[in-house]
């Protein structure tokens, strides 16, 4: 297993955000993590990426237990993430935003970092914004910039929190294709999204959470026909 979550529990005051969640992810999987608002999806991603420490349970990446590592340590092991509300560095230029992850890694010379950041800038179609501060970008463009920042260091395990939110519909289908391409190239992807049509189109497996509890885990077709999911979490029949 590439990532193994065992009996992870997290609470905030009186709120039980995750209750004994256990999930395993194999290398190369494309998994959709779904559930209604407040179901614990982002809390789980925050636990995996090190922003939260689980109250109990463990998270293993390969042979290493990562549940006590700081976020930068987890990132360096090859787990990258994006955020539901984009966390780009608003008062730095778009190019500087792209440079940062590669500079933290320290593998590339500064000139190589510059070259790569311009290359990625083209791929995310923001080449006209390179020297502008990131605060001037739209919400959708910030989502693309976050993806671009991930691509700068090429992590093997991607945690994508609502990457389609605010992205122009035309760009959304390109983004879906791009994520599928990344997955074909060997990346393991966990995708959190409320865009059910996208989730069912591109994910090979779905994990459903509700009130911090794992409800079901399986192929999209099985989840689609699961009565509990349809009635409790998707609010009725799902249109792919």
């Amino acid at each position: 297993m590439m990532l193994q979550i065992e009996e992870v529990t997290k609470h905030f005051g009186g709120l039980q955000a995750l209750s004994g969640v256990s999930i395993s992810f194999k290398a190369g999987e494309f998994v959709g993590l779904i559930g209604p608002n407040g179901s614990g999806k982002t809390t789980l991603i925050n636990c995996i990426s090190g922003l939260y420490r689980p109250d109990s349970g463990s998270i293993r990446f390969g042979h290493e237990t990562i549940s006590r590592l700081p976020p930068h340590g987890i990132y360096r092991l090859g787990i990258g993430r994006t955020f539901q509300i984009s966390k780009v560095f608003n008062r730095l230029t778009v190019l500087d935003n792209l440079r940062i992850p590669a500079l933290t890694e320290g593998k590339l010379h500064r000139r190589e970092v510059d070259g790569r950041s311009r290359e990625i800038l083209k791929q995310i179609k923001l080449q006209q914004h390179g020297s502008l501060n990131a605060e001037s970008l739209s919400g959708g463009q910030k989502k693309l910039l976050e993806l671009g920042m991930l691509m700068m260091t090429d992590p093997q395990f991607l945690l994508l929190d609502e990457p389609f939110a605010g992205v122009h519909p035309e760009l959304k289908s390109q983004l879906e294709d791009y994520l599928c391409q990344l997955n074909r190239n060997g990346k393991t992807i966990i995708l959190v999204s409320h865009e059910m049509s996208s989730i069912f189109r591109i994910c090979q497996r779905l994990v459903v959470l509700d009130h911090g509890v794992l409800v079901t885990d399986g192929p999209p077709e099985a989840v689609r026909s699961d009565e509990r999911v349809i009635n409790a979490y998707l609010g009725g029949a799902v249109e792919a």
Partner: protein, 308 residues
């Protein structure tokens, strides 16, 4: 424009002893002490987003360390000043290691507490420090005012060049990223605690360096230099000049120190005047007076040159 201004300022600073003597040269030398403190504090507050109230205390650590080493160990002044900076850096490392893992106001509160603790300790340790009377310290370069001024100028240039170099390096990029979004920075591989500590230790060292210099220019160190009012003055200088501009904060220090001399008749009311100045700056030019002056100067230049 932004490149010309520092050059003009430096030329003026180099020529200053030829234009002014004695009293104003001494005032300018003391201004350089505050300029080092304000520019290093502005790096911490403006670029890293850390509010420390111990900057004056770190200057005090540098000053007392240097003074005691010269008096009791007979070390040469330049060596003792450097050791003072190193000791201030070590205190910065200790306080930083304790507090910089935490978020929010903990650093501000801890540094405030440490600052008072240090001031009370040096006041109480009469046998070593002469308490509130102050410790008489040998002057540097036998009290030569011109050479003392140039030493201060060299230390100030060293401070600004070093800190600017750090800010323009990848470390500077990381520091700004951390200030902008700490979670975003840490999940992109930045070890936020480590880099905050680097910035804190570095600026503490420069505060210590400034303190050592001050001790051997004035010839006296007393707990007065570490009181909270002094910290307020450094804060006022930085905000007035521009928190995100090292040179702006330094210029703020020089202007306010000059004003201090003019406003002597107002005694402690000077601080109230500075407080009002800070409030007006925050209201009218929150980025600081110097960055705003750049904008106006560029507009004037454009108009003068007939550019659109």
């Amino acid at each position: 424009m932004k490149g010309i201004f520092p050059a003009v300022l430096l030329i003026f600073a180099v020529l200053f002893p030829f234009l002014f003597r004695d009293y104003w040269l001494y005032v300018a030398t003391i201004s350089l002490y505050y300029a080092i403190l304000a520019s290093s504090w502005s790096m911490l507050a403006g670029h890293v987003g850390l509010i420390s109230f111990a900057h004056a205390a770190f200057a005090g650590i540098g000053a007392y360390t240097s003074a005691l080493l010269v008096i009791h160990q007979g070390l040469p002044v330049p060596v003792s000043v450097l050791v003072g900076a190193l000791v201030a850096a070590l205190f910065g490392l200790g306080i930083g290691a304790l507090t910089l893992r935490m978020r929010g106001p903990y650093l501000a509160l801890t540094t405030l507490g440490f600052s008072e603790l240090f001031r009370i300790s040096i006041t109480a340790e009469y046998g070593l420090t002469q308490g509130s009377i102050g410790l008489k310290v040998p002057l540097m370069i036998e009290g030569d005012r011109v050479l003392s001024y140039y030493t201060g100028l060299a230390l100030f240039v060293l401070t600004v060049v070093t800190l600017t170099g750090v800010l323009r390096s990848r470390v500077g990029l990381f520091l700004v990223a951390m200030r902008e979004d700490e979670d975003g920075a840490s999940t992109r591989g930045i070890n936020t605690v480590y880099y905050r500590l680097v910035a804190f230790v570095l600026t503490s060292a420069f505060a210590g360096l400034a303190g050592g210099f001050y001790a051997h220019v004035v010839g006296l160190v007393s707990p007065q230099m570490t009181r909270i009012g002094e910290m307020g003055l450094i804060l006022a200088m930085s905000v007035f000049g521009g928190l995100e501009s090292l040179l702006g904060a330094a210029l703020g220090a020089i202007i306010l120190q000059g004003l201090t001399e003019y406003l002597r008749i107002f005694t402690e009311w000077r601080l109230a005047i500075f407080g009002a100045l800070v409030l007006f700056t925050l209201k009218l030019a929150p980025e600081g007076v110097l960055p705003r002056a750049y904008v106006y100067a560029e507009r004037l230049l454009d108009r003068w040159l007939g550019r659109a």
